[in-house]
Symmetry: C2
């Protein structure tokens, strides 16, 4: 293998595939980046066996020569060293050459590195994901779906399926649900592509978080293909594979209360700021408990008390309150996570009583499942 | 105590004094910020007993009312909570009021906090530093002196005096020296103020690093007063006290070699970049060993070898090399620290042989002690 490549393109690809690489892997070769070159271009691969990322650099892009190939081949180089090296190389071009027994020369300007590599044939094969029908979504929509649900997955592995986000695709409607059994985040969106098949998969929360970091806030579209136990996200020159979680996701629809006793209309941004302030003292307690009380004036009072440190209370103007007066306590962190999903818009919080889960939706939602955040209260009264 | 204050001024002062506060203090009251108000303004104090910082907020500044005082007094509030709270308050004004038994109300907009405080009379007194003669330095000069020496202090407490920077003031010349016994950094600068007295003090490296973070890159001047076991740095509305280290600082002048055998003139920036690249592999080894060899072409070769990982070599153009040919090894991190002191300028490296310390100075220095960096080589040949 021998080729010359533009340094900035190599750096970009190394940064992208490095997101999949974990230093804590039990498979030593997966601490490396696989580099292969053929008559189409250079391909870099990184994987932790749950997530695999493949970045492609074409020989020519926009009439500019990106890669000059002298001989085809491949190598696996330690991600940690290779990444640090290419980021610091002095010249705009980099030459990579496998010399003998996987020793690889990296030359740029006056600098010359030799790294001990590994046999690329030993690198695990990427999953084959070719069967499924393509689903197409604008990137910014996908990023929103991820952001509005992924924080609610379970952080503990007791029920592994809850560490993922359930994607249910049925009659051209995508429903994404995440719950850790104390709170639930749900987002529903119609798909533009017409799909004959239904899908019901659980994508690891960690995969979606990493994917979200790679994606630019672009209006271009991303292609997704769902296969047996894998989902593939396809961008121009980038493939992102994630393992799917096994096991059936619980039916969460019956958790959502329908017998609403009070409703509060409020701005999510000003409410979030008040909760954030109240959490400053509440975070010292188990559960980060914050109390919400309705006042006669149409205001609501947010408060928290930590006997050792002090207490805080704040009145927040609501746009409307109807139904039974209310005193309810909840985890301040859960509330902040949920409120951030509404990006400052006005919201309706529907309460079914002090001890029943309550639900937050956009004020002007036409579909009650467009964005739905559910939180189970904490017993304090 | 009761007053109303502009939030942004309070936040700034809290941020400044918080730099002195350590959560690991053994004196509980020092986890707090002391706040006092009198007819001149509000004073905030933070301290870890080595460093103490006092920030003053005047009642009126630039014809703007900053503080409205209702009653004088003081309180000590937990730095951690008080800081987080004032940074997040909703309104541009904040009201502070000590209610009873050190309970303090903090009100801003609709938000109202109560924090449990402590008796300000229990807070340790700041050192009295009034005797000494004032030394005046432009802030950017002081920042340079700190930056060019403080990294070379010893990180280990075996010889406590080496964890500080020695400031020697004699005949209106300030000489700052730091050494960890493997390397040495020295900076000499004439003072504009005429001082009758000589001073020989050791300032803790940590104090100087913290001071450097507080100082803006301003061209204004800073006043310094040296007393018995304290140094005081005085800015407009800010006092920074540091304890001085006890014990006499070793005489380092005899460490600097005078029998030079070879001299290398090179640009510090391009040399630093080459060392940085070579360190990518060297950092895995004990001592981060990098080799420098002179070549016949007038170039020098920087190289490093880590058998497990690989090796690196790079030729760097020198502007001039004179004297004996040379192969020498040194700690790459020490070399990078030293080179950064020259801020990209051309330098002269003077070698006294493979096993003797070598010295780096600016190429165009008129005073040989203007900036001097000394490094002891590592034995590898």
């Amino acid at each position: 293998m021998k080729f010359i490549i533009k340094r900035d393109r190599l750096v970009q690809a190394v940064n992208e595939v490095s997101r999949a690489i974990s230093s804590r892997t039990t498979i030593p070769i997966l601490t490396g980046i696989k580099i292969t070159v053929n008559d189409e271009g250079v391909t870099l691969t990184g994987s932790d066996s749950d997530i695999s990322i493949e970045a492609f650099i074409p020989l020519i892009d926009n009439d500019e020569v990106i890669v000059e190939v002298e001989s085809f081949g491949g190598i696996v180089l330690q991600a940690r060293y290779f990444g640090d090296i290419v980021r610091r190389l002095p010249d705009e071009n980099v030459e990579l050459e496998v010399v003998s027994s996987y020793q690889t020369n990296i030359r740029s300007g006056q600098a010359s590195f030799t790294l001990n590599g590994l046999d690329p044939l030993e690198y695990p094969k990427l999953p084959e994901v070719t069967d499924g029908k393509k689903i197409i979504l604008p990137i910014n929509v996908l990023k929103n779906i991820i952001r509005q649900t992924v924080f609610a997955v379970s952080a503990i592995e007791v029920r592994p399926v809850l560490t993922g986000v359930n994607w249910l695709i049925k009659e051209n409607l995508l429903t994404a649900v995440a719950t850790d059994s104390h709170r639930l985040a749900l987002r529903e969106i119609p798909l533009e592509t017409s799909l004959e098949e239904d899908y019901n998969v659980v994508i690891p929360g960690k995969s979606l978080s990493e994917l979200n970091k790679i994606l630019d806030d672009a209006s271009e579209s991303i292609e997704m293909v769902i296969a047996n136990n894998q989902i593939l996200f396809k961008l121009k020159d980038l493939l992102f594979y994630s393992r799917l979680l096994e096991g059936s996701y619980p039916d969460t629809s019956r958790l959502i209360p329908t017998d609403i006793k009070s409703e509060l209309v409020i701005n999510s941004k000003s409410f979030l700021q008040a909760i954030d302030r109240a959490s400053l003292l509440a975070r010292e307690n188990r559960n980060n408990v914050i109390k919400l009380s309705t006042l006669e004036s149409g205001q609501v009072e947010v408060s928290s008390n930590s006997p050792e440190i002090g207490n805080v209370s704040e009145r927040v103007f609501s746009q409307q309150f109807s139904g039974e007066e209310l005193k309810i306590s909840f985890n301040g962190k859960y509330m902040m996570d949920a409120l951030r999903a509404f990006e400052g818009d006005d919201i309706v919080i529907s309460f079914a009583g002090t001890m029943r889960p309550f639900v937050i939706r956009p004020k002007d939602a036409t579909n009650p499942n467009e964005i739905l955040q559910l939180i189970t209260p904490v017993r304090t009264y």
